[in-house]
Amino acid sequence: MSITVPAPRPELAVGLDCPLRVLDLDGSRLPEPLLDGHLGDIDEHALTNLYVDMVRVRRLDVEAFALTRQGHLVLWPPLLGQEAAQVGPARALGDDDWVFGSYREHGFALLRGADMGEFARIWKAYAHSGWDPQEIKMAPSQIIIGAQTLHGVGYAMAAKMDGAAEVALTCFGDGATSEGDVSEAMVWASAFQAPVVFLCQNNQYAISEPVAVQSGVPLALRPTGFGIPSMRVDGNDVLAMHAAARIAFERARSGGGPTFIEAVTYRRGPHTTTDDPKRYRDKAEEEQWLAKDPIDRVERALERMGANMEAVRAEAKIRADQLAKEFRAAAEHAVPPTAEAIFDHVYAQPSPRLERQRLEHRAFTSSIEAKA
């Protein structure tokens, strides 16, 4: 791997003053020279698909939240409000590209094809990973903040070594940008010109801390210090997100190295189902962001295009309800792991010591069962 050390290019940070936007709040199209050329094929049909995706993702999120409140799941980190920031880039990915995300990437998991039955198991605490990473080309969700950015860079370096035109997308939040790993990931991505895209969903909060605690400058300015071009994008505009991701993936695929996208969005719900946002933010702020809702905006855009919104809504609802039903059934009927699973897959070569402990545990459980 040859190393180049690009100089900082602050001129390549676009959207610092005002995030790039294609769809205005009323659904009208705004001219955005940087992005427009990458949306030529997005007609009413394509926009409808993005709309349905977002509705499904939201429905899954709402259902999971309810399931947690009802005791079927142990925890849920909602993505409510971030649908566009995930669906836009997810639909720009190629089949062979990889995603290295955090624990709030439900939109990516769904659109990459994660099995809902397996997916539910994570949030029932039945499994650490809710899909086959090799099958859907998405690493297990990551709880250690920012750690996955390095994995994404490493994967991208490996793809480049193999001469494959593949991209790694790594997703993280505004809080993660303070972690050393994320800076290290940008150092490496820049040094090796790795085909990686950093997607920072700036949802304004790291649990209770506003983004101002993490950074006094726009997050999108930071990567330019590493020589990485960046785009600050309206994360509630699915078209802008889709176009920005296309630009970044195309750059990576054609040997142009890494790109950083800051999706300026809002976490409308709590950090997780155990959190209480009332303690650290006010209603006025929440309402202000409600007006920027990513799904409402696309509805207005489709109406302007002359779409039969009633039919589109009905279709989206059927598909979303179907997904919610599937997920609920999966969550309610998921089979917990056996105690034996404690001892599985710790090593590639079984460890005699652990196998002994497996037998000890087996004997202990049968002694209880024998008494019962």
Binding site: S2, S129, Q134, A139, A147, V153, H345
Partner: protein, 356 residues
């Protein structure tokens, strides 16, 4: 031990550092998915010259001079592992491994388990470790217990050039993540190496037989134990020396089998005693061979302090005399060096052991 001359055409005389180099070269040669990554390993050949010549031979695509970031060395190696590469990552010094601790114990160690066996991490992490190089702070440490405590990692070491070669070959071939702790104080000791030997990562090796006392050691203390055995033989004491080789998994069976014959156990390593390999080994032997023990097991280890400045390291590291004192205590005999008679005292009243 004095280096021997080559016995046959299959062996060559190499320093331990060169043996590691040979293992890396043969691994790179034999599998094009193997690559090396670390700070200064390319042009410079590593700060100990362990990777000398490898970048010239295999190119900068496979012997990668990385930026200075330990967490990133391991974190990006994880990403490469997803794509089927077998990365051999070098951490330059034992004391520099801590920035990578999260990536090693929370990511590398657990990915197979977390993914129910769907993700493999065939990653080898080379770490020069231990004392006796006379350098400054953070350049001489023994952090192996932190990793031995972590399920999912294999932790191995080597005491001779042959062991270094054979162990590293096996580590790179293993589908498990392996931390390979190289005894940097022994890098320039010479020995015979047969490149056809690739060992397992599980078993200990009895390197000297004896009927009176078992000394279990690993890495740099194997040599100290062998020298102690030679000295003890002058006084008619037979010491069995076991090179543990693997720290995790520990080959308790071999040690138990030996203790059944000798009835006495001493464990020695440079790392501090608290929550260490000796803690684990003595506990395991007590669980499984208590009735065979004729005396309380002994530990001769680094003290439970940070590594001291290297000017006084010789007082900190296990020495032949500290080992021999432990031998006398466990045999309950008169110490020929100090004149202390251990036949009349119980181990609990003796305060010279590292672990008391």
């Amino acid at each position: 031990m004095t280096p021997q001359t080559a016995q046959n055409a299959n062996t060559e005389t190499l320093t331990l550092a060169k043996a590691v180099n040979a293992a890396l070269a043969d691994s790179l040669e034999g599998d094009d998915r193997v690559l090396l990554m670390g700070e200064d390993i390319g042009k410079l050949g590593g700060v100990f010259r362990v990777t000398d010549g490898l970048q010239d031979r295999f190119g900068p695509q496979r012997v990668i001079d990385s930026p200075l970031a330990e967490s990133a060395i391991i974190g990006t190696a994880i990403g490469m592992s997803y794509r089927g590469f077998r990365v051999v990552a070098e951490i330059q010094f034992d004391g520099f491994i801590y920035p990578a601790f999260d990536q090693i114990v929370a990511q590398v160690a657990k990915l197979r388990y977390r993914s129910q066996g769907r993700v493999s991490m065939p990653l080898t992490i080379r770490v020069p470790f231990g004392g006796a190089i006379g350098s400054v702070e953070h350049h001489s440490e023994s952090p192996e217990s932190y990793f031995a405590h972590t399920a999912g990692l294999r932790v191995v070491t080597a005491s001779t050039p042959q062991e270094a070669y054979s162990t590293l070959r096996a580590a790179i071939q293993s589908d498990d993540p392996v931390l390979f702790f190289e005894p940097k104080g022994k890098y320039y000791t010479k020995g015979e190496v047969d490149r056809s030997i690739v060992r397992d990562l599980e078993t200990a090796n009895v390197v000297a037989s004896g009927r009176d006392v078992t000394i279990a050691a690993y890495g740099p203390t194997v040599d100290t134990a062998l020298r102690a055995a030679i000295a003890a033989a002058d006084e008619g004491i037979e010491i069995e020396v076991i090179d543990l080789r693997s720290i995790s998994p520990l080959d308790v069976d071999t040690v138990v089998e030996s203790v059944r014959r000798t009835g006495r156990l001493i464990v020695t390593h440079e790392a501090p005693a608290e929550s260490s390999v000796s803690s684990e080994l003595i506990a395991s032997v007590a669980e499984r061979a208590f009735q065979h023990l004729e005396a309380a097991p002994e530990r001769v280890t680094g003290y439970d302090s940070p590594y001291p400045p290297s000017a006084v390291e010789h007082d900190y590291l296990p020495s032949i005399d500290r080992l021999l004192d432990a031998v006398d205590r466990t045999l309950g005999r008169r110490n020929s060096r100090t004149g202390l008679d251990y036949s009349a005292v119980t181990p609990a009243t003796v305060t010279t052991g590292a672990a008391r």
